[in-house]
């Protein structure tokens, strides 16, 4: 899995490509933790090139969202989720904890 990070004026953009499972989720967790550890809590996660996501990946995002939303200091938003991944997200019931955008400019502009 490939992960990139871009800093914008009002938020950080993280993009992952490939598969997120129990093997690769710790890498994503490390990147997200490094952002919040630096006092930044407005994050856009671009999922447009993720073609597989297990519950381990969702938990990493949930834990990050918990950190970001504390004291109302920010949040993690998602963009470009492929249909079948979105289905499993809502099936498990985690979908309601995130704002989901279809396109990147709108997601970044939301901050």
């Amino acid at each position: 899995m490939e992960i990139t990070r871009t800093e914008f004026k009002r938020c950080d953009l993280v993009k992952a490509k490939g598969r997120i499972d129990s093997y690769t989720a710790p890498n994503l967790e490390e990147i997200l933790n490094s952002i919040t550890a630096n006092g930044k809590f407005k994050i856009v996660f671009d999922m447009s090139e993720i073609d597989f996501m297990s519950s381990k990946g969702w938990w990493v995002l949930i834990e990050t969202q918990k950190t970001c939303k504390k004291y109302n200091r920010g949040e993690l938003v998602l963009v470009g989720i492929q249909d079948r991944i979105r289905e499993s997200l809502f099936l498990v019931g985690m979908g309601s904890y995130f704002k989901i955008y279809e396109d990147l400019p709108t997601a970044i502009g939301s901050f």
């Binding site: 598969r19 499972d21 297990s54 969702w58 079948r84 499993s88 019931g93």
Partner: protein, 137 residues
Amino acid sequence: MTTEIFPGRFESLPKIRDFIVNAAVNAGLNEEDVYAVELAVDEACSNIIEHAYGGEGVGDIHCTCKVLDNNLTIILKDHGRPFEPESVPEPNFNAPIEDLRPGGAGLFLMRKMMDKIQFEFTSDNGNILVMVKRIEK
């Protein structure tokens, strides 16, 4: 029927998924069902490594795929700790986010993605998980 043995490590997950996807495609499952099977098996194997074995590098996972009576049947075997599936609570995602705790989502997804899942815990043959997906073309 095809069987492969994988080391009980998270780095085996992509290879397990490839093996399962290959079997599902060959069995004639549609794209959506191939993903469902892939996800269910990934969740099951992650649970075997994390919970049955208590960590990586402890034991192997035996995967068997077979087509029988218009169903794709997947059998996973391990020699880790047994558990009580009924005692695993379903995740409660109506709770406020700060109250969420990990656990239960994998088993919940397995039950939703597959048409049938069945656990068997034996003293000499280890833990056996059978998962079935109807083949709808």
